[in-house]
């Protein structure tokens, strides 16, 4: 039986050694522990004893050669010594030194081979775990989702519109849907911070992006691929483009990446935009880029309402503590018309039109630093007094910065009223995803033709910007006609404490 002799490891950092001298020749007998050869290493020079007794049958590494620890140096035939050392020979068959100091290079292929097996086992486990997590998440959502206000639309789709993200992104052209594509796997609901940022910066509707990550998750690569393909079809805001070539981009810390700031020239003044100003700018541009805006105008005779208001306002102020303005009258007339023409009180969700059979009325309120649109929830259930109180409440809280996030969410239609500033005709910008916005300007006395005579009447121009993707001119005109009719013909007296007309 032949026993190999290997290069020993002398010291924990030594990886190789040089044979300086063989002390036995091939064919010579050797005793166990008798010096066999001398080596020189980085740490020590020493002689090495034979691990077994026998005949040195082969020398495989010659004097002067340097080899790695564990390399086979020689073979010793132990057969002649069988009686003395069967156990020893067995022990020597697996040289301990070789195991202790595996060559790094020999290690690599072995590890690479071992690799696929554990992976195959692990994957199903992983998937299972992820599935459980996804289920748990789903249950959480179920709990969190309010029961009211869920019409026929897919429940899952309802969420983004109600999420807190909605407020800031209200007017974004394609909302950053925090939804992954329907039918995705367990991880499909997870959006990484990077994917969210890219979607926001490039105004991507993520429901359009197929996910290739684990469980259908949308990855950075998926977004990039989508953008490339979209880039071929569409022009997009120039500012968004450079950010996409992520590779060696601006230094990572935000403040370390200064965009060159425009400098004010002589007799100019540079004022940094407030967050509100930036949000308005972003939302308005986004609206103009995604809606197909059209516009109609009607002229309304407000004489009846002006008289009603004149007669009721003093008592109203005393009773309610607030002024009776034209606004609640218009709101009242608009709410009725919206229920009659639900397409105007609707929004597009993907390829579906979502009609709303309730009115959450947005009222644009001018502030010193900008504009905000708080919402009167359930406006269609209120009479003039209720509307007057509700509008006064949100407008006051808007000016005192006392609005809560819920106050600015969920609007279905918006009224803006630039009249107090003297404007007589306005062309407002739609507040997506709403279909339309109505502008109600200054009520003023004008000469008008009444029964073939010229008369002086309280008149107002009421106009509406609307999204031609959702409705057409006929609907818009009929809707405005309905508002006009309501305002001109309804008897609002009883609602503000006056006797009914003609009684």
């Amino acid at each position: 039986m032949a026993t190999p002799v290997t290069m020993p490891q002398l010291g924990e950092t030594v990886v190789e050694g040089t044979i300086t001298k063989w002390l036995k020749k091939e064919g010579e007998q050797i005793e166990r522990d008798e010096p066999l050869f001398e080596i020189s290493t980085d740490k020590v020079d020493t002689e090495v004893p034979s691990p077994v007794a026998g005949t040195l049958v082969a020398i495989k590494v010659q004097e002067g050669e340097t080899v790695q620890v564990g390399t086979e140096l020689a073979m010793i035939e132990t057969d002649g010594q069988a009686a003395s050392a069967p156990a020893k020979a067995e022990r020597a068959e697996e040289p301990a030194e070789a195991e202790e100091a595996p060559e790094p290079k020999a290690e690599a292929p072995a590890e690479a081979e071992a690799e696929p097996a554990p992976k195959a086992e692990e994957e199903p486990e992983e998937a299972e775990r992820a599935e459980e997590e996804a289920e748990a998440e789903e249950r959480e959502k179920e709990k969190a989702r309010p029961d009211e206000e869920r019409p026929g639309a897919e429940p899952a789709k309802e969420e983004p519109a109600r999420g807190p993200a909605e407020e800031t992104e209200a007017a974004a052209p394609a909302r950053v849907a925090v939804e992954a594509p329907a039918g995705g796997g367990p991880r499909s609901q997870i959006l990484s911070p990077l994917v969210r940022r890219l979607a926001e910066e490039n105004q991507i509707d993520l429901s359009q992006v197929p996910g290739s990550g684990t469980g259908g998750r949308i990855t950075k690569k998926d977004v990039m691929t989508y953008l490339e393909s979209r880039g071929a079809e569409e022009a997009r805001p120039a500012a968004a483009a450079p950010r996409l070539e992520t590779v060696p981009q601006p230094p990572p810390t935000r403040e370390a990446a200064p965009a060159p700031r425009p400098v004010a020239q002589a007799r100019e003044e540079a004022i940094p935009l407030t967050r509100m100003r930036q949000a308005i700018a972003r939302n308005m541009v986004a609206s103009m880029q995604t809606t197909a805006r059209a516009w109609n105008l009607v002229e309304v005779n407000m004489e009846n309402i002006a008289r009603t208001r004149e007669a009721a306002k003093e008592a109203f102020r005393q009773r309610e503590g607030i002024n009776l303005t034209f606004m609640p009258f218009v709101a009242r007339a608009v709410c009725e018309a919206l229920l009659a023409f639900p397409d105007v009180n609707a929004e597009l969700r993907e390829d579906q039109l979502i009609r709303k059979h309730y009115v959450n009325l947005g009222i644009a309120v001018a502030l010193e630093e900008g504009l905000i649109v708080p919402v009167v929830k359930g406006a269609d259930t209120m009479n003039i007094v209720g509307l007057g109180r509700a509008i006064n409440d949100i407008a006051t809280r808007a000016r005192n910065k006392k609005l809560v996030p819920d106050d600015v969410q969920g609007g279905t239609f918006t009224i803006t009223n630039p009249g107090p500033f003297g404007s007589i005709i306005s062309v407002p910008i739609i507040n997506p995803p709403q279909c339309a916005i109505l502008a109600f300007d200054a009520v003023e006395k004008r000469p008008v033709v009444v029964e073939d005579a010229i008369a002086i009447r309280h008149m107002v121009y009421i106009s509406m910007s609307w999204d031609h993707r959702i409705i057409d001119g006929a609907t818009a005109a009929q809707f405005l006609g309905r508002v006009k009719q309501n305002l001109e013909t309804w008897d609002f007296g009883p609602e503000v404490g006056l006797p009914a007309r003609g009684s």
Partner: protein, 362 residues
């Protein structure tokens, strides 16, 4: 037989004398003479070269430590130094690390630039108070700088057991006033050690003993060659996954990255080189590029160096991430002596490959 042994010993002695005369290696010889035939230096020799060059350059530089003189140090880094620089500049000390650091602090106050050697980084804790209380805070408290280098072989993977395999870098990285350097390559080791000697305040220079004689490369001959402290370096460019690491794990990561290439995953390997101060700019740049990060380190997982790296990425790179930051590091147990257990303790190439695959698919 006894006779033969004596004869052989005599032969060896005469051979050693020949070597000295030839100037190739051995006592009194310059470390550069110990490079391989094709001019490559091991990590260990590169460190010796750095010490030698700095001692040649600046007389105020001196070495102190246990058995660093005639014996040449536990790992033979300073072999031959005493013959060239004498016992005043290659000073053997008692076996007492507290004294070694205390002497270094005193000498630095007097205008010297001491370089103290520890036999193993494990024993640095015997001088812990001198290091973190005196050396680290002296400049802060007194306004006087303290140019000290504390050199020690750290790390596992060499079957040295729980008392000779520690990675103490987090202890020292946590002490304000210390710079902590953990090079992975001969060139970086040489350049960073020279920078550390020239630095005017305490540097903890943690050599990795697994790398000592395993990694060779051509190193600079320029006596003014240095590598800046506090700068990481991308050792391998990649697009899909970043591995942020240092020390011996850099080599494991590079091996894993090569193995992954066949799977179509392109891995970037960032070598921190200095763990305190951290080069957050290079880290975040790589994160921005790949968006997926494996933080690989040899200090214990909980509160190790990679814990801080992960926190930096989470804090300053949140919206650069396309997957959660993943860590791979040893568990919070002493380094085992048993080879199979030590292999289980240390992150291995196949685990790194697996982690990167998982990350790339996340």
């Amino acid at each position: 037989m006894a006779e033969g042994k004596a004869e052989r010993a005599k032969e060896r002695r005469s051979k050693e004398e020949e070597k000295v005369e030839a100037g190739a290696a051995g006592h009194g010889a310059e470390p550069r003479g110990k490079r391989s035939e094709d001019g490559e230096a091991t990590y260990l020799i590169a460190i010796a070269e750095a010490l030698w060059e700095e001692m040649e350059r600046d007389e105020s530089v001196f070495l102190l430590g246990e058995d660093i003189g005639i014996y040449g140090g536990a790992f033979k880094v300073t072999e031959g130094f005493i013959d060239r620089f004498g016992p005043d500049r290659v000073m053997d000390t008692p076996i007492c690390e507290e004294t070694i650091v205390g002497m270094a602090v005193g000498a630095a106050m007097e205008g010297f630039r001491p370089v103290a050697e520890f036999q193993y980084a494990d024993f640095m804790t015997c001088g812990f108070d001198e290091i973190v209380t005196n050396a680290a805070r002296y400049h802060y408290r007194s306004g006087v700088q303290l140019p000290i280098v504390l050199r020690a072989p750290s790390g596992g993977g060499v079957r040295a057991g729980p008392f000779h395999s520690t990675n103490p870098e987090p202890y020292f990285a946590h002490a304000p006033g210390l710079k902590v350097i953990c090079p992975a390559f001969p060139t970086d080791a040489k350049g960073l050690l020279k920078s550390a000697v020239r630095d005017d305040n305490p540097c903890v220079f943690l050599e990795h003993k697994w790398i000592y004689r395993r990694v060779k490369e051509k190193v600079s001959d320029d006596p003014n060659f240095t590598v800046p402290i506090g700068k990481a370096e991308v050792k391998r460019e990649g697009d899909d996954v970043s591995v942020i690491t240092y020390g011996a794990m850099v080599h494991k990561a590079l091996e894993a990255a090569d193995a992954l290439e066949d799977d179509g995953v392109s891995a970037e390997v960032v070598d921190l080189r200095t763990v305190q101060p951290l080069d957050t700019e290079t880290i975040l740049k790589s994160v921005e590029k790949t968006s997926r990060v494996l933080v690989l380190y040899e200090s214990h997982r909980a509160l190790g160096i990679g814990a801080e790296v992960s926190a930096v990425i989470a804090e300053d790179g949140f919206d650069l991430l396309d997957a959660p930051v993943m860590r791979l590091a040893p568990p919070n147990v002493p380094v085992p002596f048993s080879p199979p257990l030590e292999d289980a303790y240390l992150p291995q190439v196949d685990q790194i490959v697996e982690a990167m695959q998982e990350l790339s698919k996340w």
